[in-house]
Amino acid sequence: MALGLEPDVILVVAEQKDGTLNRASWEAVAAAQQAGGDVKVVVAGGDVAGVAKELAAADVAEVVALQDAALAMYTPDGFVAALEALIAAEQPELVFFAHTYQTRDFAPKLAARLDRAIVVDVVGIKGSGGDRVYVRPVFQGKLSADVKAKGPAPHLVSVQIGAWRADAVKKGSGAPVREVAAGLDASTIRQQPEAPFKEARQAVDLSQAERIVAIGRGIKGQEHLAVAEGLARALGAEIAASRPICDAGWLPMDRQIGSSGQTVAPKLYVALGISGAIQHLVGMKGSRTIVAINKDPEAPIFEVADYGIAGDLFEIVPAMVAELQK
C-alpha cells in the first residue's frame, strides 16, 4: 500500500478447465472483496473470453483474459511464465488463489520465481495493510496459526475451498473485460500434459447415499471393519472412509471421501475414528447431520459435528447397534 493513500490492488487468479469456471474461484473473489481493496480478476487459458465474461458479473474493477495457445492445457511452467509477466505489469499488493490442486501445483513456484511470500490454505483474514494476518490450519487442523506475510509485495495467498462462500460474492454492473496475449515461448514449457481421465468407473456413487458411516485411522486395523459395517447395516448406510484407510487397502479407493475422493452431503454422516483433516472435511461438511465419535476430544472433526461423543468407538458403536435394534 503506497503511503497508505491508495487502496490495495488484489489480483484474483481464477481457474477454468475447457471453458468451465472452477466454482472455488468465486470463493477467492469473495475473500478478496472481504479483504478490502480494488479487486481485479485474471483467468488464464487458450480461449477464456466466455469465462472472463462470467467473472465480470462480480463487483470487481476489471477481468483480464490472459490467453495463449500454450495455456490451453495447464502446465506449471506455462502458467508461472504467463502470470509472472502479468503481475509485473499490474503490480498488485496481493494475489489471491483458491487452494485447488492446480494452485498447489504452480503457485509456490510463482512465489519462488518472484521471490515473494506465499501463504497457503488460508481460512480467515484479520486486519488490513501491514497488520493483516492470515489464519491457516497446522498439524492437520488440530491447531490454527495466525501468519504474517513478510517482505515486499505482492504477497501470494491461497484460500481453502469452502472457507468463503461463493454466494457471498458482491455482484456488480458488469466489469470491463480486457484480453491480454501472454506471448509465451512454448519451447520453454517442459511439461507435456496428456488429456485428463477417470480410472475405471466408480462402482459406488456415494453422493446418492442417504446415510454414510465413514471410518478413519481410529479403526486401527482391517480386522475391525466389521464393527463399522454392523453400524452401517443397522442404519441402512453405505460404508466409506478417509484417505489413509484406502491408502492402506482396507477399503477400495472408490469408498474414499475427501478432496481426492468423493464429495457427499447425505442426511446423516457418522465419522468413526476420523480426526478430521481438512482434506476429509471438504468432502463431507455439507452433510445435514454429522456425528463424530473419536477418542481425542480435541479432534477437528468435532468442529463440524452436530453430535459428538469423545470415547472409544469399539465400545460406543456396538452399544449404538444394540440401541438401534431395540
Binding site: 506449471p76 511452467d77 485447488t100 490442486y101 498447489r104 501445483d105 509456490p108 513456484k109 512465489a111 519462488a112 511470500a117 506465499i118 501463504v119 497457503v120 490454505d121 490450519p137 498439524f139 492437520q140 487442523g141 488440530k142 491447531l143 495466525d146 501468519v147 504474517k148 506475510a149 517482505g151 517442459r190 511439461q191 507435456q192 500434459p193 496428456e194 488429456a195 485428463p196 466408480q202 446415510r211 442404519l235 484417505r243 489413509p244 484406502c246 487397502g249 481426492s260 475422493g261 464429495t263 446423516l268 445435514r288 447431520t289 456425528v291 463424530a292 480435541e298 468442529e303 463440524v304 459435528a305 452436530d306 453430535y307 459428538g308 470415547g311 460406543i316 449404538m320 444394540a322 440401541e323
Partner: protein, 253 residues
C-alpha cells in the same frame, strides 16, 4: 539413477499437542517424533525405482539433531546414504527457507530425480517440493500416483481432483511430490537396521538464512464453528442418547 528423497521429521499423531509459552508454536521439548508419513511414500517410491533401474537413493533432511532418527529409519528401509542439514531454525521454518537449504545441499549431488511427500503433517504447506524445483531450475509435477522412469523422458500420473488423473511427461532431472497411497510401504528389517548403522550421514552446513517470508504470530486451538452437542456418560448411555437425538431431533434415522 541417482534419486534424492527429501524427508521431514514431525511430531507423532498420538502426541497431545501443547502450545508454547509465547503461543507462537508447539512446546515440543517432550514430544515424540516420527518420519512424516507422506515422505515415507516418496522414499518407498525411490527404493522401488532403484530396484528397477539401479543407482542410489540419498535421503536429505533439514532440522535439529533429532532428525537423525528419521534419517536412520530411511537408511534402515534401504536408502544408501544421507545428507543432514543440521539446523534448529529449520525445524519450523517457512517453505522457502527449507527449500533454500535443500537446494544448497543437493546442488553438488546432481540427482536425476528428487522426490518428496506432497505435504508435511505439521506445517502442511505442500510447497517445499515445488519451490525446490524452481530453486534447482528443474521441471516438476505434484501429487503423483505413478512414476515411469524407464526412458530419459519421465512420465508421471498426476492426481487431479474428484477422481481425475492425468499423465504428464517431462525431461529428467525433475522434482516430484508423491501422493500418499502410491505404493505399499515396506518395513525396516533387522538386517536393514544393522546395515543402516554403517551408512554415511553427511552433515551439511545450512546456508545463511535469507529474510523469513512468513512469521507465525500466534497458534491456538481452533474455535468451534458449529454448535456441537457433546454427549457424555457411559458408552451405553451415550449411544442411547445419540440414537434418541438422531431419531427425535435430527430426524436422520
Amino acid at each position: 539413477m541417482k534419486i534424492a528423497v527429501c524427508i521431514k521429521q514431525v511430531v507423532t499423531r498420538e502426541w497431545q499437542l501443547r502450545v508454547n509459552e509465547n503461543k507462537t508454536w508447539i512446546r515440543d521439548s517432550d514430544a515424540s517424533w516420527e518420519p512424516n508419513e507422506p515422505d515415507a511414500y516418496a522414499l518407498e517410491e525411490a527404493l522401488r525405482l532403484k530396484e528397477k533401474h539401479g543407482g542410489e537413493v540419498i535421503v536429505v533432511s533439514a532440522g535439529p539433531a533429532r532428525v537423525q532418527q528419521a534419517i536412520r529409519d530411511a537408511l534402515a528401509r534401504g536408502a544408501d546414504r544421507a545428507l543432514h542439514i543440521e539446523s534448529d531454525a529449520l525445524a519450523a521454518a517457512d517453505a522457502s527457507a527449507v527449500a533454500d537449504a535443500l537446494a544448497a545441499a543437493l546442488k553438488d549431488e546432481q540427482p536425476d530425480l528428487v522426490l518428496t511427500g506432497l505435504q508435511s503433517d505439521d506445517q502442511g504447506f505442500g510447497s517445499v517440493g515445488v519451490i525446490l524445483a524452481e530453486k534447482l531450475g528443474l521441471p516438476h509435477a505434484t501429487i503423483i500416483m505413478e512414476v515411469d522412469a524407464s526412458s530419459p523422458t519421465l512420465r508421471v500420473k498426476r492426481e487431479l481432483e474428484a477422481g481425475w488423473f492425468q499423465w504428464v511427461s517431462m525431461p529428467m532431472p525433475a522434482v516430484l511430490t508423491i501422493q500418499s497411497g502410491i505404493n505399499q510401504l515396506r518395513y525396516a528389517t533387522l538386517k536393514g537396521i544393522m546395515a543402516a548403522k554403517k551408512k554415511e550421514i553427511r552433515k551439511v552446513e545450512a546456508p545463511a538464512a535469507a529474510e523469513a517470508k512468513q512469521e507465525v504470530v500466534a497458534v491456538y486451538f481452533p474455535e468451534k464453528g458449529k454448535k456441537t452437542q457433546m454427549i457424555g456418560g457411559s458408552p451405553a448411555e451415550a449411544a442411547a442418547e445419540l440414537v434418541k437425538k438422531l431419531r427425535e431431533d435430527a430426524h436422520a434415522i
